[in-house]
């Protein structure tokens, strides 16, 4: 049965269409794999075997009729941030205890409409706030990768840690994820998987629990570039229920794979060469440059002068929006309620018990930066920085650059419970230094595995593109994937 779970989406798609395998067989294989692994990896917070088998059966019926959508019978995992009808939807927070919505997010509905099968809900940092999956109310998900000769448990990254771990460990064929400051790309890099954050507005945000509305964007985590292209094609859509979604046709992303990058101009932003960057990351980056040059691309140095302000500005804008978005979790209508002597006391007790430390920290930061007397100095200034960051990219693209190549993380995966990171939240925030700029500018970015570090842990590279030019990202990432190969963790669970 394990053989079936080794199939990529494109491989499984062919075998399902050819009736070599059935969707029920494939789904059962994944359910068994989850059973065997989830105790160790904690990737799923809820598994939905009955629902999965029911959907698989329906897929088989459609396939038998020669029908079936682009994802017919493909078993997927769903980040706990997406609303799924009558199924656990808690953003991995205590405050949404027992919450099962009566509605389905647009992105997951799109997937089911295309025939995909749901295996369950995936672990994540609480309300998508974190870079290690350690802020989950359900405990951290564990990275399927381990350093050579070490038994130390590593983080899968965050916030979409469960998605990345499940994909890397073959506990689903692919997974939905979201990215507010790097939450798709960093976990993908930590687990040797491919993750793409599309342009802001490419996927509907309707039915996705909001963290920071102007930055949140859904995207897939998959085993390879082709699978990511297949998944994004199904996830993306314009949506009348989300007025920030954009009405542009969704191209056939898969068709861009294998297209030449010859003559493309790739920008290397000098400001991403930060102080203290490990030599390994620098070397990997250079390797990426060589691969693209070998494929016929022209590589030029570019300048994105406001890069250094991106991270502090992000940690003003995102918490500000979060402080307001999370005000609805008040114990009045759903989720956790801790009774108090009056309404204010009930609010305080419920929110104190329901939100974890990191979420509370960001609510407080956000409340502070929006307060009278501080708004101009923090929130307004951060918005101005955001405009400048966006302009940096626009100028680079205007000068003829087609895509930008950059590192994705300052290091490979770190240990769960890393004392240094736990003691200093700012150090954890630095994980996002290469990723937040895109969210601030609304641009698409893909994380593609490019090699292993000296510990034998995966490292990724990031390709950044123009708005709604995800095809360029897929085609370029595919070149790197072809050159670097694919990376699968040795099974220990």
């Amino acid at each position: 049965m394990t053989e079936l779970t080794n199939l990529t989406i494109s491989e499984a798609r062919a075998k399902l269409k050819g009736r070599e395998i059935t969707a029920v067989e494939l789904t059962d294989a994944y359910l068994s794999a989850i059973d065997a692994a989830n105790g160790a990896l904690n990737a799923y917070v809820t598994v939905t075997p009955d629902k999965a088998r029911e959907m698989a059966k329906a897929s088989d019926a459609r396939l038998a009729d020669g029908k079936g959508g682009p994802l017919e019978g493909i078993p997927l995992g769903v980040k706990d941030l997406f609303a799924t009808r009558d199924i656990h939807t808690q953003a991995c927070s205590h405050i949404l205890d027992g919450f099962k919505p009566k509605y389905e997010s647009t992105v997951t509905q799109n997937l089911w409409n295309h025939g995909a099968v749901m295996l369950g809900k995936l672990n994540m940092d609480e309300f998508a706030m974190g870079s290690s999956n350690e802020s989950s109310y359900y405990g951290p998900s564990v990275n399927p990768w381990k350093a050579k000769g070490s038994d130390e448990k590593l983080v899968p990254g965050g916030s979409s840690g469960g998605s990345a771990a499940a994909v890397a460990a073959h506990l689903c064929a692919g997974a939905t994820a979201t990215d507010t400051g790097g939450s798709i790309r960093q976990p993908a890099a930590f687990t040797g998987t491919v993750g793409i954050k599309p342009t802001y507005g490419r996927c509907s945000r309707w039915g996705i629990v909001a963290y920071a509305s102007s930055l949140d964007q859904a995207g897939p985590i998959a085993r390879d570039v082709r699978d990511a292209a297949i998944l994004l094609k199904s996830m993306a859509s314009v949506d009348t229920k989300d007025t920030t979604s954009v009405d542009l046709p969704v191209p056939d992303y898969e068709a861009s794979l294998g297209q030449s990058v010859k003559g493309m101009k790739i920008g290397i932003p000098k400001e991403y060469r930060i102080v203290g960057m490990p030599e390994e990351i620098e070397k990997l980056w250079q390797q990426g440059v060589e691969w693209l040059k070998d494929a016929g691309a022209e590589v030029v140095e570019i300048s994105l002068p406001h890069t250094k302000y991106a991270l502090p500005a992000y940690y003003i804008v995102a918490p500000a929006e979060a402080s307001s978005n999370l005000a609805r979790y008040d114990g009045v209508r759903y989720g956790l309620r801790v009774d108090g002597k009056d309404i204010a006391d009930m609010y305080e007790k419920s929110r104190a018990a329901g939100f974890g430390k990191e979420v509370q920290r960001r609510i407080m930061i956000g409340t502070y930066v929006l307060s009278a007397g501080y708004y101009d100095a923090y929130y307004l200034k951060a918005q101005k920085v955001r405009t400048l960051i966006k302009r940096d990219f626009e100028e680079a693209f205007h000068a003829g650059v087609d895509a930008i190549l950059a590192p994705i993380t300052p290091s490979s995966a770190f240990a769960i419970g890393d004392k240094e990171l736990a003691a200093d939240p700012v150090k954890m925030y630095l994980q996002d230094v290469f990723t937040v700029t895109l969210n601030m500018a609304g641009l698409p970015g893909i994380s593609v595995p490019a090699g292993l570090d000296h510990k034998g842990l995966p490292l990724g590279l990031q390709i950044i593109g123009k708005p709604f030019e995800e095809e360029t990202l897929f085609k370029t990432a595919h070149v790197i994937e072809q050159a670097a190969g694919k990376f699968t963790p040795a099974k220990w669970w």
Binding site: P101, V209, S213, E321, D330, Y347, L370
Partner: protein, 500 residues
């Protein structure tokens, strides 16, 4: 917002205090519920009076992952209102979040417009009077802005011994907040302003103006000062829900502030509530307790943008507004300013009048509507909406007079019958024998009878011809008022030999 003083102190509006005269400064923020089928950011119905929590969508209940989508009809209503207020329409405006916790505010924030409202400066002309000479005084009251925002739900504290319940039917319903400049100087002006504003939104059909249902309510800002001095510290009286209460609240509040100042005290800037039972205002919260609402642009909504063509299309469909209608009544129908003012004061009255005046003499129609209909309604404690006499019925009565089927006097009786019992005026006249007698033979006989029976009076009238009126009255009496008065007059004069 910088406050500009647009008025010159007017002695007849000053309030005398123990130490001299005082001037009241008033500004108002009126919340008007937008007339629309569905809410500002959701498809839930706005129907009034439904069972609690039956008009609630997932968005209104702030379920996780729900997003607001602007209702275009509400935008149109706001623009129409802005046009009615002769105001600047902003083609680009921004929705902001106003953050605070309250059980009937599910999102934990109200979506409103803070820095960039949909409508900017405009004006309303209020008309005070008539004074003893019958003159009206027109005063321009500035409008600072109009913005769109969500209403909150309703907390119910009388449903359970220890818990409060929440009804979200109103949660998310569109409101227009219309902010005046501090341009009013008396409670009469404030009442006139509210009356006029209500009349304008009713004409436009953008708000039903029903204050008793909460469709319109006012926050009234009141301060006092010595005439000519700078503005004083103001107090805001929240949620006043009738025009009469607005007047009472201002009168009370002004006198309260004057008493404090004359005692050497100072006014604390605070929010106050008006208690209609006691006729007084009392402190609700001080400035120090004021919320920090942490406004910021709502990232779920793009800036609201529309082009000039959108505004022009609404403008071309705008109904005639009260000021224009009044001018037209004076100009085209020859009505007095007073009559025209009364008729346009409410859209329903103006509509009624125009229906009656259609194809008839305007002045006659105006007299009947103002003196008879409104008089009778007032006496019966009814509004124009509840009139038992339809425009067709009143028109029928006027037609019967014109055709000389009935006399003006009989017409008054006929009106009373129609008002109290209903029915077709022509049929009533027929069945009850109210027709005017124009048969000169019959009238002549009646005149002869009276002359024959009253030789003394005949003698007197020879000396004083104006006494002929006595004979006319007697004849009318003997014919039950049905005789044509002109015919009677002519015959009496002829028989008595009085020259015209």
């Amino acid at each position: 917002m910088t406050l500009v003083d647009t008025r010159t102190p007017d002695p007849k509006r000053l309030i005398p205090g123990a130490t001299g005269d005082w001037e009241i400064i008033i500004g108002m923020e009126v919340h008007a519920q937008v007339l629309s089928q569905s809410k500002l950011f959701s498809g839930a119905s706005t129907e009034f009076g439904k069972a609690p929590n039956s008009n609630v969508s997932l968005v209104d209940a702030a379920m996780p992952g729900m997003l607001p989508v602007i209702n275009e009809e509400c935008v149109k209503q706001a623009v129409r209102t802005g046009l009615g207020l002769k105001a600047q329409i902003n083609n680009r405006s921004i929705f902001d979040r106003k953050n605070y916790f309250y059980p009937d505010l599910p999102q934990g924030y109200q979506i409103s417009q803070f820095k960039d409202p949909i409508v900017g400066e405009g004006k309303i002309i209020i008309s005070l009077g008539p004074d003893r000479q019958g003159n009206f005084e027109d005063i321009e009251i500035g409008i600072e802005r109009l913005h769109l925002e969500q209403d909150a739900g309703k907390s119910m504290h009388d449903q359970h011994p220890t818990m409060s319940y929440v009804d979200l039917n109103r949660s998310g319903v569109a409101l227009m907040e219309i902010v005046s400049k501090p341009d009013m100087r008396s409670s009469d002006e404030a009442k006139a302003y509210m009356t006029k504003l209500r009349s304008i939104v009713r004409y436009l059909g953008t708000c039903d103006g029903n204050m008793d249902e909460g469709s319109m309510r006012a926050d009234v800002n009141v301060s006092v000062r010595r005439p000519g001095e700078a503005f004083g510290t103001r107090c805001e009286i929240k949620n006043v829900n009738s025009i009469r209460f607005i007047g009472q609240a201002i009168e009370y509040e002004a006198r309260r502030q004057i008493a404090i100042l004359e005692d050497g005290g100072s006014i604390d800037q605070e929010t106050r509530l008006f208690d209609p039972g006691k006729g007084e205002t009392r402190s609700m919260r001080s400035k120090e307790d004021a919320h920090d609402y942490r406004y910021f642009p709502d990232p779920d909504l793009l800036p609201l943008e529309f082009d000039d063509a959108f505004v022009e299309a609404l403008k071309s469909d705008l109904p005639e507004l009260p000021d224009d209608k009044k001018a037209r009544f004076v100009r085209e129908l020859g009505l007095s300013v007073y009559d025209a003012s009364v008729l346009v004061s409410e859209k329903a009255i103006a509509d009624y009048f125009e229906s009656v005046a259609e194809g008839r003499d305007g002045k006659t129609a105006a007299n009947w509507v103002i003196n008879d209909l409104l008089g009778a309604l007032n006496k019966a404690g009814k509004g124009i909406e509840e009139t038992p006499v339809s425009p067709a019925q009143l028109g029928g009565i006027i037609d019967l007079i014109k055709a000389e089927t009935i006399s003006g006097k009989i017409a008054k009786d006929l009106f009373e019958i129609v008002f109290n019992e209903g029915g077709d005026p022509a049929e009533i006249v027929e069945s009850r024998g109210m027709k005017q007698v124009t048969d000169t033979g019959a009238i002549e006989k009646a005149v002869d009878d009276i002359i024959a029976a009253n030789p003394d009076q005949v003698a007197k009238v020879k000396a004083k011809p104006t006494l002929a009126g006595w004979f006319v009255g007697q004849v009318m009496k003997s014919t039950g008022g049905k005789a044509n008065p002109q015919a009677v007059q002519a015959l009496v004069k002829a028989k008595l030999g009085i020259e015209e």
